[in-house]
Amino acid sequence: MPSAQPSPTELGEPDLILVRYGELALKKGNRGEFEKALVRNLRQALASTTKAEVDRQHGRIFIRPERRCEKAAKRAAEVFGVKTVSPAWTVASDTEAITAQAAKLLESALAARGQSEPVSFRVRVRRANKAFPLNSSELERHVAERILPGPDTVRVQLVNPEMTLGIEVRDRNTFLFLDRIEGNGGLPVGTLGRALCLLSGGIDSPVASWLAMKRGLHMGYVSFHSAPYIGEGFRRKVREVVRNLGRWQYKAPLFTVPFADIQVAIRDQTPERYRTVLYRRMMQRIAERLATAENCGALVTGECLGQVASQTLENLTCIEAATSLPVLRPVLTYDKEEIIQIARRIGTFDISIQPEPDCCTVFQPNRPVIRGRVEDCLAAEAQMDVEGLMQRALDGTEMELLDHEGGA
């Protein structure tokens, strides 16, 4: 569908962004809390684009950006919990002023559209100001009759028109808009609690984190660093991923756990085939400790059923058995292509494919176990000082708060 966005030279920039949110309205019990969170998240998101006022009124959020209204609208649409946004123009709540502005809007939209088939069109009025002299359908008719240029350019169609001119009449001001930018949907980040995501450096875990944020979880991150088998480049890459995910959650803690000693112990003291599963069990144990200290109610991983040999149902069972926290796996049933598609959309793909491996080749088993058994994991771990290794790793763990702008 061609954009109905009027060219700013004829009409001027919109001065207001109307934000509509969907699902929130369903959550009657704590709707107020959800709305507050959404306003807060919108404020943080917009900070990177422009100064803006964000207000909440009658089931809508209104953003008045100081500048860059179009860009701010796109940014607002990214925020989880937002259903649609519309850049809008404000006029006084007066029939003549509304009609004049509506005519300008339609004219510039048609000009931007160029010569083509007649466009199907309707005016849709939402009237919060019940004292306004015309009711909704009277105002719709009043405006349409005065602005429509003729049937060879515009054809009225009430159901599913290509172009809808929206008019929201409030007490003093009225807002007019043509565009609806689809938002990401979901729930405001933070409204469903906190979770800790295990970031591996691969393509899957950032996508898993994004999907978890989309459902309202506030994320923290943990990554396991096998220095000195792996270089500092790996940490730079993980930081870049976390900062990129900051587009949806402005600030996030990243825990970096020194993991080489644990890998050496597992390599030297346990059956080779179980290495990968045992590494992951240790990661989950350490993540659980960090999660508990951080008030996180769940772990999030990028595990995907059958994607690599180690990700069988049996192995996932072995890994999960190491923690008592729920393990959320948002991409469990996704195909690689589906994951990559999201990774590209959210901008993590190009970071994830940088050649900075998370695990050194010297620790990889030749023939990893496919159908691991929990008993075998426990037997293997009985040979190691699990608690001591964990404690030393936790003692060496570093935490940094990373934000989207780049400064820690």
């Binding site: 660093h225 220095a227 000195p228 088998y229 792996i230 270089g231 500092e232 970096t256 020194p258 050649p355 491996p357 050194c360 080749t361 010297v362 060496g396 570093e398």
Partner: protein, 387 residues
């Protein structure tokens, strides 16, 4: 992290070198009051232009003297591009064959690929099994249609010094109109360079390899050399590389080049001493050997073949002890990303992943080499058993 090195031992001077104090002093006024545009006609501009001229003279001097033209560039990559692309495109009517060395820097190889897409025939001068340039094959490849020959002077990974002058004589014998280019980025400051003795038409050098700033290099050419420019603009630097000159970078490069050239014999001897020390130390260390490629070698670049764990693991373990070195090829890289230079030397992908490079500068001390040797010795029991 757990690993907090107390001191830093920097043995990666083929990658880059620290800024030298006299260079910092020379450039300082140009970060402050001397901010003029060299094209301006007022005093401030004239002073900048004079500084640029002085820097040009200093770089020219390091390449053998007066009768050269110096175009400052953004670095070695741009200088190599300017020479290879510029010379080939200016000679399109004379012929379409290009000869490139087997171990050229990516900026030369990629320029060759671009020319190949433009219809030039690009061929490679191979190395023989000892790592020397195969001049017999080169002779067989040369024709009157050969318009550009590019051969690096010093191999950046194993230090082989290639017989550029011999190759240049051969090239001119078969193709009098040929443009002979050399990438001497790793040679400046260790070898007494002379455009005439090298027999080349153009030579690339880079400032940050000789204690200058990153972002500055130069293409030094014989007067009258025909090059089609890569960028177009206001005619600065004789039009061959227009754009307001990077005065700070050029001034720093001038100072650095002069210092490097003045001390090149000492630096070479100093590096030779360090290499001998390393070689001796390694003799008592079973399993680690010095790669010896070619007859003539630059002692400041030493590549080791390490056993057991891939070189990258050795690198990070050394790093944990504060010792910075580099590797020939990354640990988990696929075969296509294994250094073509190492493959050209006859190393397979597996061995190429075991190449650890230590490279010295005039500032490297014998104590530092000893620290590296001690570290290698103490790491060997842990790492040689891994694979």
């Amino acid at each position: 992290m757990v690993y907090a090195p107390m001191t830093t031992v920097y043995l990666d001077n083929a990658a880059t070198t620290p800024l030298a104090e006299p260079v910092r002093e020379a450039l300082a006024p140009f970060l402050g009051e001397e901010f003029g545009n060299p094209s301006s006609r007022h005093a401030l501009g004239v002073r900048a232009a004079e500084a640029l001229t002085r820097a040009r003279t200093q770089v020219a001097r390091a390449l053998g003297g007066q009768a050269t033209e110096v175009a400052f560039t953004s670095g070695g990559t741009e200088a190599n591009n300017m020479a290879v692309l510029g010379a080939a495109r200016a000679r399109k009517k004379q012929g379409a064959q290009i000869l490139l060395g087997a171990t050229e820097h990516p900026s030369v190889r990629a320029a060759g690929e671009a020319l190949s897409a433009e219809g030039f025939e690009v061929q490679t001068i191979p190395l023989d099994e000892t790592g020397n340039l195969d001049l017999q094959v080169a002779e067989a490849l040369l024709t009157p249609e050969t318009v550009v020959v590019a051969q690096m002077l010093v191999n950046n990974e194993v230090g082989t010094i290639y017989p550029v002058a011999k190759l240049a004589r051969l090239a001119r014998k078969y193709s009098p109109q040929v443009h002979m280019h050399t990438d001497a980025v790793q040679g400046l400051g260790k070898l007494a360079l002379d455009l005439d003795q090298l027999g080349v038409d153009s030579c690339s050098v880079s400032a940050h390899k000789v204690h200058g700033l990153k972002g500055t290099g130069a293409l030094v050419t014989r007067p009258g050399t025909r090059l089609q420019p890569l960028i177009f603009g206001g005619g600065q630097q004789g039009g061959v590389r227009p754009g307001t000159e990077n005065v700070v970078g050029a001034v720093a490069f001038g100072a650095a080049a002069q210092m490097a050239d003045d001390r090149c014999e000492q630096t070479y001897e100093h590096a030779a001493g360090l290499r001998a020390q390393l070689d001796n130390g390694l003799k008592t260390l079973s399993g680690i050997s010095l790669l010896e490629a070619g007859t003539e070698r630059m002692p400041s670049i030493c590549s080791l073949l390490v056993p057991g764990a891939p070189a990258e693991v050795w690198q990070h373990h050394l790093e944990a002890r504060g010792i910075f070195v580099s590797v020939g090829s990354a640990c988990q890289s696929n075969d296509s990303s294994v250094s073509p230079a190492l493959l050209a030397l006859g190393l397979d992908a597996e061995r190429a992943r075991r190449v650890l490079r230590l490279s010295f500068s005039a500032l490297t001390t014998s104590e530092e080499v000893q620290i590296a040797l001690d570290a290698l010795e103490s790491l060997a029991p842990e790492l040689e058993g891994l694979s």
